[in-house]
Protein backbone atom coordinates (compact mmCIF):
# COMPACT_ATOMS: atom_id res chain seq x y z
CA UNK A 1 0.00 0.00 0.00
CA UNK A 2 2.67 2.45 1.02
CA UNK A 3 5.15 2.11 -1.91
CA UNK A 4 2.28 2.55 -4.37
CA UNK A 5 1.23 5.81 -2.72
CA UNK A 6 4.87 6.92 -2.67
CA UNK A 7 5.32 6.24 -6.38
CA UNK A 8 2.10 8.07 -7.23
CA UNK A 9 3.26 11.05 -5.17
CA UNK A 10 6.68 11.07 -6.83
CA UNK A 11 5.12 10.90 -10.29
CA UNK A 12 2.77 13.78 -9.54
CA UNK A 13 5.72 15.78 -8.21
CA UNK A 14 7.75 15.06 -11.35
CA UNK A 15 4.90 16.12 -13.66
CA UNK A 16 4.34 19.34 -11.69
CA UNK A 17 8.08 20.06 -11.83
CA UNK A 18 8.07 19.51 -15.61
CA UNK A 19 5.08 21.84 -16.08
CA UNK A 20 6.69 24.50 -13.86
CA UNK A 21 10.04 24.17 -15.65
CA UNK A 22 8.41 24.42 -19.06
CA UNK A 23 6.46 27.51 -18.04
CA UNK A 24 9.50 29.34 -16.58
CA UNK A 25 12.38 28.23 -18.85
CA UNK A 26 13.26 30.99 -21.32
CA UNK A 27 12.76 29.71 -24.86
CA UNK A 28 13.98 31.47 -28.01
CA UNK A 29 10.78 32.90 -29.42
CA UNK A 30 10.12 32.58 -33.13
CA UNK A 31 7.74 35.52 -33.17
CA UNK A 32 7.74 38.67 -31.08
CA UNK A 33 4.56 37.87 -29.20
CA UNK A 34 2.98 40.31 -26.82
CA UNK A 35 2.49 37.72 -24.09
CA UNK A 36 5.38 35.41 -23.09
CA UNK A 37 2.91 33.08 -21.34
CA UNK A 38 1.41 31.97 -24.66
CA UNK A 39 4.79 31.03 -26.12
CA UNK A 40 5.34 28.84 -23.03
CA UNK A 41 1.92 27.23 -23.68
CA UNK A 42 3.10 26.53 -27.22
CA UNK A 43 6.24 24.88 -25.80
CA UNK A 44 4.21 22.61 -23.47
CA UNK A 45 1.95 21.55 -26.35
CA UNK A 46 5.05 20.67 -28.37
CA UNK A 47 6.16 18.40 -25.48
CA UNK A 48 2.75 16.61 -25.72
CA UNK A 49 3.24 16.28 -29.46
CA UNK A 50 6.67 14.68 -28.90
CA UNK A 51 5.15 12.11 -26.52
CA UNK A 52 2.56 11.23 -29.21
CA UNK A 53 5.38 10.87 -31.75
CA UNK A 54 7.20 8.42 -29.44
CA UNK A 55 4.06 6.25 -29.27
CA UNK A 56 3.69 6.56 -33.06
CA UNK A 57 7.24 5.24 -33.56
CA UNK A 58 7.17 2.31 -31.14
CA UNK A 59 3.55 1.22 -31.04
CA UNK A 60 3.43 -2.58 -31.24
CA UNK A 61 0.14 -2.79 -33.14
CA UNK A 62 -1.40 -0.65 -35.92
CA UNK A 63 -4.22 0.32 -33.54
CA UNK A 64 -1.72 2.14 -31.31
CA UNK A 65 -0.59 4.24 -34.26
CA UNK A 66 -4.19 5.05 -35.17
CA UNK A 67 -4.86 6.21 -31.59
CA UNK A 68 -1.72 8.36 -31.65
CA UNK A 69 -2.70 10.00 -34.94
CA UNK A 70 -6.19 10.75 -33.62
CA UNK A 71 -4.68 12.35 -30.50
CA UNK A 72 -2.36 14.50 -32.60
CA UNK A 73 -5.31 15.71 -34.66
CA UNK A 74 -7.04 16.95 -31.51
CA UNK A 75 -3.83 18.60 -30.24
CA UNK A 76 -3.46 20.61 -33.46
CA UNK A 77 -6.87 22.20 -32.73
CA UNK A 78 -5.36 23.44 -29.46
CA UNK A 79 -2.34 24.80 -31.35
CA UNK A 80 -4.59 26.81 -33.66
CA UNK A 81 -6.66 28.13 -30.73
CA UNK A 82 -3.53 29.34 -28.93
CA UNK A 83 -2.13 30.92 -32.12
CA UNK A 84 -5.33 32.92 -32.63
CA UNK A 85 -4.94 34.88 -29.37
CA UNK A 86 -1.68 36.88 -29.82
CA UNK A 87 -1.99 37.37 -33.57
CA UNK A 88 -5.62 38.50 -33.38
CA UNK A 89 -6.63 36.84 -36.63
CA UNK A 90 -9.86 34.87 -36.55
CA UNK A 91 -9.15 32.54 -39.46
CA UNK A 92 -7.02 30.36 -37.18
CA UNK A 93 -10.28 29.15 -35.60
CA UNK A 94 -11.55 28.32 -39.09
CA UNK A 95 -8.46 26.17 -39.57
CA UNK A 96 -9.21 24.53 -36.18
CA UNK A 97 -12.79 23.61 -37.18
CA UNK A 98 -11.67 22.25 -40.55
CA UNK A 99 -8.88 20.27 -38.91
CA UNK A 100 -11.27 18.74 -36.36
CA UNK A 101 -13.59 17.65 -39.20
CA UNK A 102 -10.70 16.17 -41.20
CA UNK A 103 -9.32 14.36 -38.15
CA UNK A 104 -12.76 12.86 -37.37
CA UNK A 105 -13.18 11.53 -40.91
CA UNK A 106 -9.62 10.23 -40.92
CA UNK A 107 -10.18 8.38 -37.64
CA UNK A 108 -13.36 6.78 -38.99
CA UNK A 109 -11.53 5.66 -42.15
CA UNK A 110 -8.67 4.21 -40.09
CA UNK A 111 -11.16 2.32 -37.88
CA UNK A 112 -12.86 0.87 -40.95
CA UNK A 113 -9.47 -0.16 -42.33
CA UNK A 114 -8.59 -1.85 -39.02
CA UNK A 115 -11.82 -3.82 -39.11
CA UNK A 116 -10.83 -5.22 -42.50
CA UNK A 117 -13.85 -3.96 -44.39
CA UNK A 118 -13.77 -2.13 -47.69
CA UNK A 119 -14.41 1.59 -47.91
CA UNK A 120 -17.54 1.27 -50.03
CA UNK A 121 -19.63 -1.01 -47.82
Amino acid sequence: MKPKFLSWFLGLLAVSALLLFASIYPIPSLLKWQSPFLSHCFFILMICFGLCLIRLMRGPTPADRAVSIDTMGILIVGFCAILSIPTGRNWYIDIAIAWALQSFIGALALAKYLEGRGFDE
Partner: protein, 111 residues
Protein backbone atom coordinates in the same frame (compact mmCIF):
# COMPACT_ATOMS: atom_id res chain seq x y z
CA UNK B 1 -9.37 40.51 -15.49
CA UNK B 2 -10.90 38.43 -18.29
CA UNK B 3 -7.41 37.78 -19.66
CA UNK B 4 -6.28 36.31 -16.34
CA UNK B 5 -9.34 34.00 -16.16
CA UNK B 6 -8.72 32.92 -19.75
CA UNK B 7 -5.08 32.18 -19.02
CA UNK B 8 -6.12 30.05 -16.01
CA UNK B 9 -8.48 28.04 -18.28
CA UNK B 10 -5.68 27.58 -20.84
CA UNK B 11 -3.25 26.38 -18.17
CA UNK B 12 -5.77 23.83 -16.81
CA UNK B 13 -6.27 22.56 -20.37
CA UNK B 14 -2.52 22.21 -20.88
CA UNK B 15 -2.28 20.17 -17.68
CA UNK B 16 -4.99 17.79 -18.94
CA UNK B 17 -3.17 17.47 -22.29
CA UNK B 18 0.12 16.59 -20.58
CA UNK B 19 -1.55 13.97 -18.36
CA UNK B 20 -3.32 12.40 -21.35
CA UNK B 21 -0.11 12.12 -23.35
CA UNK B 22 1.73 10.61 -20.37
CA UNK B 23 -1.09 8.05 -20.20
CA UNK B 24 -0.53 7.37 -23.90
CA UNK B 25 3.08 6.50 -23.08
CA UNK B 26 2.67 4.63 -19.80
CA UNK B 27 -0.43 2.42 -20.03
CA UNK B 28 -0.05 -1.21 -21.14
CA UNK B 29 -2.85 -1.75 -23.65
CA UNK B 30 -4.51 -0.22 -26.71
CA UNK B 31 -7.87 0.14 -24.94
CA UNK B 32 -6.31 1.70 -21.83
CA UNK B 33 -4.37 4.18 -23.95
CA UNK B 34 -7.52 5.07 -25.90
CA UNK B 35 -9.46 5.50 -22.67
CA UNK B 36 -6.78 7.82 -21.29
CA UNK B 37 -6.22 10.01 -24.32
CA UNK B 38 -9.72 10.44 -25.67
CA UNK B 39 -11.03 11.91 -22.43
CA UNK B 40 -8.06 13.92 -21.24
CA UNK B 41 -7.05 15.44 -24.57
CA UNK B 42 -10.63 16.26 -25.58
CA UNK B 43 -11.35 17.98 -22.27
CA UNK B 44 -8.00 19.80 -22.36
CA UNK B 45 -8.54 21.13 -25.86
CA UNK B 46 -12.09 22.19 -24.98
CA UNK B 47 -10.68 24.07 -21.98
CA UNK B 48 -8.13 25.84 -24.21
CA UNK B 49 -10.93 26.87 -26.60
CA UNK B 50 -13.02 28.07 -23.64
CA UNK B 51 -10.09 30.22 -22.53
CA UNK B 52 -10.00 31.68 -26.04
CA UNK B 53 -13.70 32.51 -25.76
CA UNK B 54 -13.17 34.22 -22.39
CA UNK B 55 -10.22 36.26 -23.66
CA UNK B 56 -11.71 37.34 -26.99
CA UNK B 57 -15.29 37.96 -25.87
CA UNK B 58 -18.38 37.40 -28.00
CA UNK B 59 -17.14 38.53 -31.38
CA UNK B 60 -16.62 36.30 -34.43
CA UNK B 61 -13.64 34.51 -32.96
CA UNK B 62 -15.43 33.65 -29.72
CA UNK B 63 -18.55 32.29 -31.42
CA UNK B 64 -16.46 30.22 -33.82
CA UNK B 65 -14.53 28.82 -30.85
CA UNK B 66 -17.84 27.87 -29.14
CA UNK B 67 -18.88 26.08 -32.35
CA UNK B 68 -15.54 24.26 -32.33
CA UNK B 69 -16.11 23.13 -28.69
CA UNK B 70 -19.55 21.71 -29.59
CA UNK B 71 -18.11 20.00 -32.65
CA UNK B 72 -15.25 18.41 -30.67
CA UNK B 73 -17.55 17.15 -27.92
CA UNK B 74 -19.85 15.60 -30.52
CA UNK B 75 -17.21 13.95 -32.70
CA UNK B 76 -14.30 12.82 -30.51
CA UNK B 77 -16.18 10.05 -28.58
CA UNK B 78 -17.60 8.68 -31.84
CA UNK B 79 -14.11 8.40 -33.34
CA UNK B 80 -12.81 6.76 -30.14
CA UNK B 81 -15.63 4.17 -30.13
CA UNK B 82 -15.00 3.38 -33.79
CA UNK B 83 -11.26 2.94 -33.15
CA UNK B 84 -11.88 0.63 -30.17
CA UNK B 85 -14.33 -1.48 -32.17
CA UNK B 86 -11.90 -1.74 -35.08
CA UNK B 87 -9.03 -2.68 -32.77
CA UNK B 88 -11.12 -5.41 -31.10
CA UNK B 89 -12.27 -6.82 -34.41
CA UNK B 90 -8.75 -6.81 -35.85
CA UNK B 91 -7.70 -9.13 -33.06
CA UNK B 92 -5.67 -6.97 -30.66
CA UNK B 93 -5.27 -8.83 -27.37
CA UNK B 94 -6.18 -7.31 -24.03
CA UNK B 95 -3.39 -6.99 -21.48
CA UNK B 96 -2.81 -9.73 -18.91
CA UNK B 97 -4.36 -7.93 -15.95
CA UNK B 98 -7.75 -7.48 -17.65
CA UNK B 99 -10.72 -8.82 -15.69
CA UNK B 100 -13.52 -9.24 -18.24
CA UNK B 101 -14.22 -8.81 -21.95
CA UNK B 102 -17.91 -8.03 -22.38
CA UNK B 103 -17.76 -7.37 -26.11
CA UNK B 104 -16.35 -10.84 -26.82
CA UNK B 105 -19.03 -12.48 -24.64
CA UNK B 106 -21.68 -10.49 -26.46
CA UNK B 107 -20.42 -11.54 -29.88
CA UNK B 108 -20.22 -15.21 -28.86
CA UNK B 109 -23.69 -15.11 -27.37
CA UNK B 110 -25.31 -13.60 -30.44
CA UNK B 111 -23.64 -15.83 -33.05
Amino acid sequence: MSEIVGYIFIFIGLGFDVFGCIGLIRLPDVYNRLQATTKCVTLGTCSILLGTVVIQGFNTTGIKALLCIIFLILTAPVAAHALARGAHRSGVKLCDKSVCDKYKEDKEGSS
